[in-house]
Amino acid sequence: MSQPQKSFGPYLPKLVIGAILAVGGYWFSVNVHPEFLNKIHDQGIPLDLGITIAVIGVFLILFPVINFFYVTPLQEAIGTRNNDLERTFSEAEDLRNEMQTMRTDYERRLAETEASAREQIQNQIKEAQNLRQSLMSEAADKADELVRKAQQEIEQERDRLINDIRVHVVDLTLQATEKVIGENMDSAKNRKLVADFIENLEVAK
């Protein structure tokens, strides 16, 4: 940012008037001695009008100089400083507002995240409970099926064994029968069997 160029332009009339008054006052003080000033001096008031005018002229010169070299830069520095402070405060306020917004947004997102996490946890818990229930039900079904199959196999095996025993009993009975018949069979009985066979012989033609 460029500083505006300082100029003595606005102060030039005052400087010229001051210089004239200073030089004129001095001249007046040296060369002119009006009567009323003598009377005033005699009354105990040492007033020199020329010097007074010269002092006024010097002040007229001195004020612009002071104003130009001291007051104006000081005012500018104060203004700049005030502007900087205002801008700093404004930036700080903006930052604060931005931080507040961010904080609000963060808190909102945090709350949303927590809510989402809670919901997901609840869902996971519910899903796990359902899965547990399903697994337990499946395991119970399998156990029941195994028990049922085992009972069925036991019954089948029992029936098979009973049947085997019955068949074995039949075989033993028939073996005993064969033995008894074999021991009691003789030629006469055999001839009778043959005769009965011949007598009852009927065939499919």
Partner: protein, 184 residues
Amino acid sequence: MTDSRIGRRYAQALFTTALKYDVVNSVEDDLNGIVNLLDKDPDFKHFLIAPYTSRDEKAKILDRLFSDRITALTMQVVRIMLEKGREGDIPDVHREFIKLRRTHEGVVFATVTSAEELDNDQKKAIVEKLAKVLNKKIEADFKIEAHLMGGVKVAYGNYVLDGTVRGALSKLRDKLRHDLLKQS
């Protein structure tokens, strides 16, 4: 190993010719004699089947053995089979010839098996009863199998008439097992 189809062809030709000249029984007797000789004389069988004996030599021996004992037709068939290298099929020809003769005459062949040897009256009674109920002429072969325990079994064609004790016990066993299976 012989091929029964070959034996059947020779037997068919031989039977047709024998029937034509009315020498079926003579030819069958001839074949019976030759097969009996093969069964009872292993040396003869070995000589007839041996591949290292020449056909001429076999023909000469067979001529000397059978030419004045069997009919000319049978002798001619034996010579032909010898020339064709089919001497091992003679038992098949015999078996098929008998089948053809039985078929031609309407004879039923039955195998009668008994636990003890049947006397002639029993054999005759069985054959006559079969002939009566089948209304056909019967030829029977009688065998003895002691494990039948008692009674008699007659097999003919696809039929078996079982009157043995063993058969009755088997039927009883099957029936009891069947009943047991039905119960279970």
